[in-house]
Amino acid sequence: MSPADHVARVPLSFLLPGAHARIDAIDDAIDATQREQLVAYGIAPNRPLVVLQQHPMSIVMVDEVELALEESVARHVWVKRR
């Protein structure tokens, strides 16, 4: 992985409220069932999201729906800032 990739790709849990981002990947630490659930909620590669809050957990807006993701999940969702 080149240094540029490190700059571009961050875990969702690192973004500040108000940040706009695009989902890059969900890493393998997330098991298959939970990954399916995330995809169903709209947390899937290439989809845009807006971070609303980071406390008490990551709150994001995807497709006009507010989703809450625990830190243990949000840190395995990799995003690129828009």
Binding site: A32, T33, Q34, R35, E36, Q37, L38, V39, A40, Y41, G42, I43, A44, P45, R47, L52, Q53, H55, P56, M57, I59, D63, E64, V65, E66, L67, A68, L69, E70, S72, V73
Partner: protein, 645 residues
């Protein structure tokens, strides 16, 4: 059987149950959080009495993964469906169409009700229903189910329900596997209504209900089906990739038919939704909500209303009149006693049920309904998540637990929204142990609130401590892994008074039907125990435990006997003794009774959901534990405040 049923299917919290009510007149519980419906409900349709309408639990994903999703899949497999009405959230067309893509493969005639299009409008979105209808090949009707908008058109267009156009082709590898499996299913296990291709896709997606159905229908040939699936999976056809492809196709179509206007400012609903989980404001808001509920249920319901009913209406007017009437006309002493004596069916059973419990549960159900419809509970699961992590659960378990404050029996059923058997077991156990139902909560608030707010806080602290301790131990002892929380938060809404009223009446009806017979039965048992002198034996036998260990007056034993039937019946018995209890006795008695066995109905429900063995094991743990904690609290409080308090 000729197909004569129509099912409402859709994602969670899109308004299926509201629409069900509109189409049948039958009321099923409706709330503003996902997972209100966990079992299918059915009723005859208003527009055609020969058609059964079936309300199904919301599905986030099909293939089914949780118990409520499996219930929906079972309905699709086994009900004689003529058509389905897919109910979709207009604000979230992508998710709606992801499900549509799967329904299309199953080949069931469908119509799409695009619900909540008013909320979509408020967010600057408009969906071109006509273009969507053309793309899908079925009628698409924008609706606002809560206001009845579009419902007439929906019934009218049901006749035009037809099979959906497929939304996508999967990638070549997946298509090859699907075609192969579909051919096998068509040969070995053809379904009377569902297309083999759809079943093949669900089977590849490892839907356990479809697996079970194929196993049963294909018989010996199932081995070959499973082998073919194994080959496909080895080639990399995974459930997640199929789901992802459906999502992509749905997203593309959704983007094509949705127009957006720039939104001027965030909606008030959004801002309120963020305040209630704000890192600072969340806590004063939570305390405020709790205090408001306490004022309404504990002070107004259990204080003012109970005072009016019990002391004035029953105590001064009804009971003396009825007692006088009975004593004048019935000269058989035991019969008169049975009706209006100390343990009389009227003076104890009906008075408890109507004068003490009814006002309390009514106010509780109103408060609960308002909170339910506001969208606050879903946010509560986010707030509670950190705490629940300690007990091996995630914040989602807050919903059944809060519902348990209404009725533990109902809430036990609601644990089906949880994703693993382990989470369900822990939640059901904790609810049976430490979650008081509304009736009991009301009595607790009435009795302890009458003493002081700080006594109420001691009781709350004891309950939370027990909940955390028992949960912590359960999480350590029950094998399995905790599932992290990922949840949707429905928008905050102003509750509709009509819906809250309907819900309250429905719950009260259910409650009274369940409670009055049990209160009468309980009174009868108490009467018989008393008549044959067994009550004094029980009271004497219980004395070392009740008076020695718990420090309660001996008569309190009777409350525990009553508690076996229903915790609130026991609590009411203690309430009736309240003028003779010291603050420490009151709080110790209530803590012990709250932990004590839940009511018979909820034990039945635990047996139904978890089996007799687990239910009995729970009781065997809970009863001694209740007395242990009660006694410890008694000694602790006496050590702190001295025996005189």
């Amino acid at each position: 059987m000729t197909p004569s049923a129509i099912a409402l299917v859709g994602n969670p919290n899109v308004g299926k149950s509201v629409l069900f009510h509109r189409l049948t007149g039958a009321y099923v519980n409706v709330s503003n959080y996902p997972g209100t419906t966990v079992e299918v409900a059915r009723a005859a349709a208003r527009f055609d009495g020969s058609v059964d309408l079936i309300d199904t639990p919301g599905v986030l994903t099909l293939p089914a993964r949780s118990d409520d999703e499996r219930a929906t899949m079972r309905a699709l497999l086994h009900e004689p469906l003529r058509a389905v009405i897919q109910v979709g959230d207009a604000k979230n067309l992508r998710r709606t169409l992801t499900l549509t893509a799967l329904l299309a493969e199953l080949g069931i005639p469908a119509v799409l009700a695009l619900n909540m299009h008013d909320e979509a409008g408020a967010r600057g979105m408009t969906v071109d229903a006509q273009a969507l209808a053309t793309a899908l090949g079925i009628p698409v009707i924008p609706t606002v189910a809560t206001g009845g908008e579009g419902v007439a058109q929906l019934t009218h267009q049901l006749a035009d329900a037809r099979k959906l156009q497929p939304l996508l082709h999967y990638d070549a590898k997946a298509e090859a596997a699907i075609t192969d499996l579909a051919a096998r299913i068509a040969a070995d296990a053809p379904h009377p209504r569902l297309a083999a291709r759809g079943l093949a896709i669900l089977f590849l997606g490892q839907d356990s209900e479809v697996e079970a159905w194929l196993q049963q229908t294909a018989g010996k040939a199932y081995v070959k089906l499973a082998a073919a699936r194994g080959v496909a999976q080895a080639r990399g056809v995974a459930p997640a990739t199929l789901a992802h492809e459906r999502g992509e196709a749905a997203g593309t179509l959704a983007a094509r038919v949705t127009a957006r206007t720039a939104q001027s400012s965030p909606l008030l609903a959004h801002r309120v939704g963020q305040w209630v989980i704000h890192r600072v404001w969340a806590w004063p808001i939570l305390l405020g909500v709790l205090y408001a509920v306490y004022e309404f249920v504990g002070v107004f319901g259990a204080g003012t209303l109970v005072g009016l009913l019990e002391e004035n209406l029953f105590g001064e007017h009804l009971n003396p009149a009825i007692t006088g009437f009975v004593q004048q006309h019935i000269h058989i002493v035991w019969l008169a006693d049975l009706l209006v004596g100390e343990y009389g069916l009227w003076t104890m059973g009906m008075t408890y049920a109507l004068a003490l419990i009814l006002p309390i549960v009514t106010t509780f159900f109103i408060a609960f309904g308002l909170l339910e419809d506001s969208g606050y509970f879903a946010r509560l699961s986010v707030l509670a998540n950190r705490l629940f992590r300690l007990i091996g659960l995630n914040g989602r378990a807050v919903l059944p637990m809060v519902l348990g404050l209404g009725c533990v029996t109902m809430a036990t059923l609601t644990t089906r929204i949880l994703h693993s058997p382990r989470e369900r077991l822990i939640t059901i156990f904790l609810m049976a142990l430490a979650i008081p139902c509304s009736a009991q909560l009301g009595v607790v608030l009435g009795l302890l609130g009458g003493i002081s707010f700080s006594v109420v806080l001691i009781w709350v602290a004891a309950m939370v401590a027990v909940l955390m301790l028992a949960g912590f131990l359960a999480a350590k002892l029950i094998p399995g892994r905790r599932i992290p929380l990922v949840t949707e938060m429905p928008p905050m809404r102003l509750p509709l008074i009509g819906n809250v009223a309907k819900k309250t009446v429905g719950r009260l009806k259910w409650y009274l039907i369940e409670v009055i017979p049990l209160f009468l039965l309980g009174t009868l048992i108490m009467f018989l125990l008393n008549q044959f002198g067994a009550l004094s034996v029980v009271i004497r036998a219980g004395e070392p435990l009740v008076s020695g260990w718990l420090g309660l007056p001996p008569e309190a034993s009777a409350a525990f006997v009553m508690g076996f039937l229903r915790r609130d019946f026991g609590a009411t018995g203690l309430f009736a003794l309240s003028h003779t209890l010291s603050p420490i006795q009151a709080v110790v008695g209530m803590v012990t009774l709250t932990l004590f066995v839940p009511c018979i109905a909820s034990v039945m429900m635990i047996i139904k959901e978890q089996g007799t063995k687990i239910a009995m094991a729970m009781l065997a743990l809970i009863i001694p534990f209740a007395f242990l904690i009660g006694g410890l609290l008694n000694h602790l409080l006496r050590a702190v405040w001295g025996a005189g308090a």
